[in-house]
């Protein structure tokens, strides 16, 4: 048995992270760890992130909790049990990572108790933040329900209502102000350093929508698909044909991604944005992709993203959804070299076989790094996405 000791360091969870604090260790000193294990929860501007380890051995010398630590700071030592190869965890993040099995969703973070019902969730949340018991307030909502306005009124009214019992220790969310700063830093760097070029094309979504409607019509709600999974899968298929846009720009120029790991841009309630990876999208069947997508969005919003999901994206896709704008020109997330955008799906006049017909259309866009590719290649990617969407049954 080798006694080689490796350092487990604070990982860089994206270009916009400088520091974080460990808020929970999920292992004890002396625990056996193996690559892929989630060993700690760190608090970042993106909320609570589950940090995976890519070392094999016995973990010890755990860093103290709740101290702000820079990227690269020592979090623990791992005493190797195998060949003694010591591997820097910072590098491990870039290594190909097998898609983890879909985890069960985290328990709901909403406080649940038998007493709820006459307090609106927003009011309860605000009351918890303020440390007062919402149930003790006078309610002015339907059936005397305590609303957010009632809580605000109570908070502004001076004498403090009865203190609440201590809230259940849970993962706190992200800090919107901190996240705004981090986004500003990453996007500022992107706009300074990356010579973006932009392309756009309009895609007829009729075939995809028709297929989707037929698919969903006979299925219960949990098995239905959203247009987003078709957009994702079509993008992944196109990237198989145009791999030059899937990967990273570094000191030595472009390096292709180890798989098609699409960062899906998720807007967070309360402001902010995170784009964690869906792994190997080209190889996932649509229902599995839908499950992964729902799980990812849920965890992005409640805490519980894994470190690999933040470090692995090889390209980003942003979709504005059904209430967004018609088109988007994205900002590349370094060190990626491209971002694909989908606007809202809208019904518009379209020429079909010489006649004008109403059709659902989506504006597809690409922002890409001119250091890594030219518009000709970008145009091929968009054409390949369009083509894939015209044959949805084969996605």
């Amino acid at each position: 048995m080798s006694d080689a000791v490796a350092d487990f360091l604070m990982p860089s969870l994206g270009a916009d992270m400088e520091s974080a604090k460990v808020v929970e260790w999920l292992v004890k000193p002396g625990s056996r760890v193996k690559p892929g294990d989630v060993v700690a929860v760190v608090e970042t501007h993106k909320g609570a992130i589950d940090v995976e380890i890519f070392l094999d051995g016995v973990i010890e010398d755990l860093a103290p909790l709740n101290q702000q630590l820079p990227v690269g700071a020592l979090l623990a030592h791992v005493r190797g049990t195998g060949g003694g190869g010591t591997q820097a965890p910072a590098k491990a993040a870039a290594a190909p990572v097998q898609p983890a099995p879909v985890p069960s969703p985290p328990p709901p973070t909403a406080p649940l108790s038998g007493a709820r019902g006459r307090v609106s969730p927003a009011a309860r949340r605000r009351a918890e933040e303020a440390g007062i018991a919402a149930d003790s307030l006078h309610g002015t909502g339907p059936d005397g329900a305590v609303t957010l306005a009632d809580v605000e009124l109570a908070l502004s009214a001076g004498p403090k209502p009865a203190p609440a019992e201590p809230a259940r220790a849970g993962r706190s969310g992200f800090d919107p102000a901190q996240m705004r700063q981090a986004i500003a830093a990453a996007m500022g760097r992107s706009k300074r350093e990356i010579p973006h070029y932009y392309l756009g094309t309009t895609v007829d979504f009729h075939a995809a929508q028709t297929w989707l409607d037929g698919y969903n019509a006979s299925r219960p709600p949990p098995e239905r698909l959203l247009p987003a999974v078709l957009l994702l899968k079509a993008t992944a298929r196109a990237l198989v044909q145009v791999p030059q846009l899937n990967g990273f720009h570094g000191k030595d120029g472009f390096s292709p991604g180890p798989g098609i790991h699409i960062g899906w841009a998720i807007s967070l309630r309360g402001g902010g944005l995170v784009a964690p990876a869906l792994h190997d999208v080209d190889r996932q069947e649509l229902p599995a992709l839908m499950t992964s997508l729902r799980d990812l969005v849920q965890r992005a919003r409640t805490g519980g993203l894994r470190s690999s999901e933040l470090t692995d994206p090889t390209i980003t896709v942003t979709s504005l959804g059904e209430r967004g704008a018609d088109s988007v020109l994205g900002v590349i997330y370094p060190p990626q070299v491209a971002i694909v955008g989908f606007g809202r799906i809208v019904e518009r006049p379209w020429v079909v076989a010489g006649n004008v017909a109403p059709r659902p259309l989506v504006t597809l866009s690409l922002a890409a790094d001119h250091r890594a590719s030219d518009g000709h290649l970008g145009g091929r990617l968009l054409a390949a996405i369009d083509e894939a969407l015209q044959d949805p049954a084969n996605l």
Binding site: G117, P142, P221, R224, A228, R294
Partner: protein, 78 residues
């Protein structure tokens, strides 16, 4: 289910999707998606939650009937 029970159920399901959403601020005929800033994934999760809690199938073609509080309570009360 009566109107009060449906609203309580909706509030409960919403709490897991949009914790800050306050139904008390939404008018009966307002579009819930706009009023509570729900995207298509959020609304799908809402439909799944209502389906699982009530056992009602809610076929895809009926989903637009749930876009307002009045429509939703009417649909689930049947």
């Amino acid at each position: 289910m009566n109107d009060t029970e449906i609203r309580a159920l909706l509030a409960d399901v919403l709490a897991g999707i949009a914790p800050e959403a306050d139904l008390a601020t939404v008018g009966d005929d307002e579009d819930l998606r706009a009023a509570l800033d729900l995207d298509s994934m959020d609304f799908m999760n809402l439909v799944i939650g209502l389906h699982q809690r009530t056992g009602i199938d809610i076929p895809e073609a009926d989903v637009p009937k749930l876009f307002t509080l009045r429509g939703l309570t009417g649909y689930l009360a049947r």
